[in-house]
Symmetry: C2
Amino acid sequence: MGGFDEVESYPVLPSKNVEGVCKFEACDVGMVMDLPEGPLGEERKKATFDWKLMRLNVEEPSYLRVKLAIWSFLESDPLFHSQPTVLSSEEEKRITAKQLMRIRESKFFNDVNGVSYDKKLLYLMALNEAVNTLSPSLSVKFALGVSLFSICVQNLGTERHSSFIKDVWQNKILACVAVTEVAHGSDTKSLQTTATYDHNTKEFIINTPCFKAAKCWVGNLGKQCTHALLFAQLVVGKQCHGLHVFIVPIRDPYTMHPYPGIIVGDMGDKAGLNGIDNGFIMFRKYRIPKDYLLNRTGDITPSGEYESLFQNPQQILGAALETLSAGRIGIMQESVCSLSVATVIAIRYSGVRTQFSNDNKTETSLLDYQLQQWRLFPFLAAAYAQRAFVRKFVLIYADTVRFSMNANEDTIKTVSQMVSAVHAIVCCCKALLTWTCRDAVQECREACGGHGYHKAARLGDIRANHDPCVTYEGANHVLLQQTSRWLLRAVDEVPDLDFDSARFPASELEFLRNFESNLSLKFSANSVNEVLRVDFLIEAYQWLLCWLIKETKQRLASSLDDGENAFMAKNNVQVFYAQTLSLAFAENTVLNYFAASIQEADLSLRPVLAKLHILYGLTCIQKHLRVFYEGGYASGPSLSKLTSEAILEVCQLLRPDAVALADAFAPPDFILNSVLGFADGEVYKHLEEAYTQHGGIAERPVWWSEIAMKSKL
Amino acid sequence: MGGFDEVESYPVLPSKNVEGVCKFEACDVGMVMDLPEGPLGEERKKATFDWKLMRLNVEEPSYLRVKLAIWSFLESDPLFHSQPTVLSSEEEKRITAKQLMRIRESKFFNDVNGVSYDKKLLYLMALNEAVNTLSPSLSVKFALGVSLFSICVQNLGTERHSSFIKDVWQNKILACVAVTEVAHGSDTKSLQTTATYDHNTKEFIINTPCFKAAKCWVGNLGKQCTHALLFAQLVVGKQCHGLHVFIVPIRDPYTMHPYPGIIVGDMGDKAGLNGIDNGFIMFRKYRIPKDYLLNRTGDITPSGEYESLFQNPQQILGAALETLSAGRIGIMQESVCSLSVATVIAIRYSGVRTQFSNDNKTETSLLDYQLQQWRLFPFLAAAYAQRAFVRKFVLIYADTVRFSMNANEDTIKTVSQMVSAVHAIVCCCKALLTWTCRDAVQECREACGGHGYHKAARLGDIRANHDPCVTYEGANHVLLQQTSRWLLRAVDEVPDLDFDSARFPASELEFLRNFESNLSLKFSANSVNEVLRVDFLIEAYQWLLCWLIKETKQRLASSLDDGENAFMAKNNVQVFYAQTLSLAFAENTVLNYFAASIQEADLSLRPVLAKLHILYGLTCIQKHLRVFYEGGYASGPSLSKLTSEAILEVCQLLRPDAVALADAFAPPDFILNSVLGFADGEVYKHLEEAYTQHGGIAERPVWWSEIAMKSKL
């Protein structure tokens, strides 16, 4: 098993340059509670590592402490206890609205504005993650209504808007963010809502020309918000100056009546997240004061002219970056949480459930089936890899924003590179992580058999609530185009990249350094052991990324040569090339960050982490066999055969550690909230509770007479 | 485009041997209604074929007539009109229970028992499909409560049970089928519910030893059924004679009170299908009369002994076959319907929606994006292929049952072969079809962007309701093992197979005929055109299936040689080999049936059908690249490169026909029930209705005071 002995040689990647990676102290172990005895006890004894050490390895201890505090707060209040039955969506909205009020009033925000920018960011992200694990509706409502709103106003507004930030943190107002229109989503340039300046009254007149331009899908708008952050085309005279952002009053906070001049309502039910009051709105020449324009990038002069204010480009870059990326990074965190929760449920259930027998005596544990291992362990590995990635990347993100905000003429070029890189990495990783979670939840649901379909298993709700993540805050397919465009540009800029400074994103683009020689790499392994190595993963991705860049460029060029216009030429290299490139880049980035984090882990944890790393890497590589053969990296049977065998071998090696690996990122039972996945492993006891702890199970239904036979005669 | 000109050379497969494939008459065209004018008009003009002819090609006209009649009946009754909002599951159960009563009382069952066995079967399947398209909960309740129950009693019972059949068709009783227990599903041999014979009273004592042996997931049991078809271990004296089936009274049909001696209740909510009252039940030494044993395969003698009655093995085979397979064939039909509905929604939406512009004037139709074509068209092709397969296979199934029921000593060996083949094909195709539908619904949901997440788009409900199909009536992963076992056996029986009689399953196993020479086939194409051919698909699958059989056998043998026991050895060849074999066999079977149906289609339809056939085939083949390279069928880049290019080329060729192809299997709007997919293409008009046609959208919520600020002071 060559690969696993060599964890010392794991490449040290981005973390070198980032402050804030904390090591845990011995005293931290105390906050990780023992797990209850039960049917999973034997499984836990098989583990080759200390799960409590692992718990502190997968999560920053100071943020774990925050999360534990929030979870305990939620459990202590009946308002946050879930209902066993499907609620009407009106009732779900009411409860979520009340929960939002309760959490806003909690102690968790007392000092939130008294700390530094990045401490606040990381704290809010930990909080968001903690709340999201229990209730995605609630965390989305809070994020849109409070944090994203205040970030946007802070970054795009000026001093005159500071009262809005104060009010939203003091629970006097609640916001929403209105961008998408009925007929335009990804193509924001084509949005049709206008804000026309009226110099006589010093007001903007907001107008919606038709239903297709109604703002829609706006969370908090349907029932509850008082203000909207509105994206609209700014018009002065007859000239349109493009999208700008406005604060628009929606409802009287005391009566909750919408103001005249707008048609606002709830959009109706969705496939999930029905605790959120997604709304639509149409403006009929609705007037707001001139000062409600967020005027950092442009403003109306006292004489009524439009004036662009681009004297501080680096600040603008930073602001734009934050506004765009913060939400997507939040989604990545939430995806990793959902992925983890689903994996915990399926692995613990598989550790308890037995089926079929070899000797007609002892039934076989589901975890002993090759098929079950292969279905679940790659997602366990993905959860570890992606969690490590997000944890490190958040720090790089905070670092980049800080750096960009203090930029000067000397650093502006570096800032610009960093900002583009953050955007490109967020785009492809948001797609990779949300799709991984989607696939994992479905596989976990199926791997739990029929019981996985029970509402009390929670997997159905996780699936329904996670689902919008693949299309909101940028549809995945569209986001991936941003990354490939950046990569195609980056390869031309290689000579300008300062790899040696090791400043972000140098290590992420390391594979470009030897572009030509990477292209001539060939797969040469002859044994499974040669494939079970980090070196192999690195080399395979070096070739893969370079070849996909080269091929995408060539196809683009030849399409243009054939007379295709640039727009269609770009569209016609997406399938199999540009899109694959972006996803492969995301995988490679995740793998590298994970590798770096293994390097920092306690020595006793590295062997099992190395197995997870290899398994995640090989699973990704297997998905690209098409490319490896098409591009000539491999030709004979070896690559296909050896990766398959290696995957099965690592799965088997991970078998004894599976339950402990799940334990190490499992939230407390109240938060996990699945009868199949509770820590005590008493699956059948909890199923019995689920069958019997709901209304009138053994009585005839109150509507019995509607279905009974009518007479004995 | 070599392949598409050669539709004449499509191999003629199973349909040769089956009666009942009807051709439509000119007068049938009249029942296909014109589609309304609207934004899709231009798209429809692009089609290269007559969609009404295609409508009658994809569906047996006589059954289409039945379906249209049922759909019209459903639309005419307000009880079947859906609610725009999420209902409490109690309310959903009440409405579905009432719908079930209404439909049982309808004219559609007046003559159902007056026709021949296979006419009845096909009629009930058409009816099930029609109802399922509107409401899966309702069709499942009917199937379990009436059709499956009556089929089982007819096949496993004797004359003494005929009153139950009469009663269930006369709406005097309603049944459920109780097999699965809390701790045992797929492993039916380990079920623990017992029926112990008491000769003193001539009764069976039904007992549930513990909660783990409670019957669960039983549809209709939670609230509504009066009788259960119970699978329990028959015990006489101290001896257990294995699983037998009993009719067990559950509730008084007049009062709906459960009888004493049982604990029965609703299981609680699920991730979908909440119109079904899935229940659990535990028996406390509950007594039923001796005659309630379905006694065709075994009975209690007058002296109180158990007697096995296997004097009529071919009848038993037929009965067992029907009981096992009818439900799974129903699921295949339902999957094809859900797949079709999802595809219609996404394709019509994509034909209306435009986004981004090349020239800043005309926005681009989503259907013009390579990415959108590649995401949707393979599922359109799968819908055509799988629909053609199910339509033909149902006839073979009916034929096999009929043949087996009239079997004699001369035909018993053939019957046995046919019965095993039906079982093996149903197992793998149930898995293939339900997984295809699962993936298609998800892709369609994402391809509709954010709007795909609205409840009124219906894709979320389709996903949630289809989901259990992958684990109920046999978990897919377990079913696939049945097929691979049969194939591994079949290859040894090749010398005994009478290929020339062309009796089922000869053509399905045709690829075994030249087993050794198939193994030496090599991919040799040098151009896209050589890949766009039926010959290529046939050859590739011949190699693929033979190689997977050979490899699975070898790995099994070498595992046994290494000292592994048979049970684990079998488990350890599932991933990448046995399971892949079963799925590939299912794909090949679907492709062959589809090819045969193209051969029977109107000449004007064959070119477009041939494109769909090739696209479905290439999409499947691309998923097996791993195997093609591992086994040495291909080595250089060509296979990978040419299949990719060919897929994109066929997608582009299908572009003009996409909307008309969707129209050709779209149900009426009332049944389709999706604002994104209505035939008029007025997506935005219907979205506006969805936003505004639900309760109190523009009012403040009735609970406004709970979230308002408390005072102006």
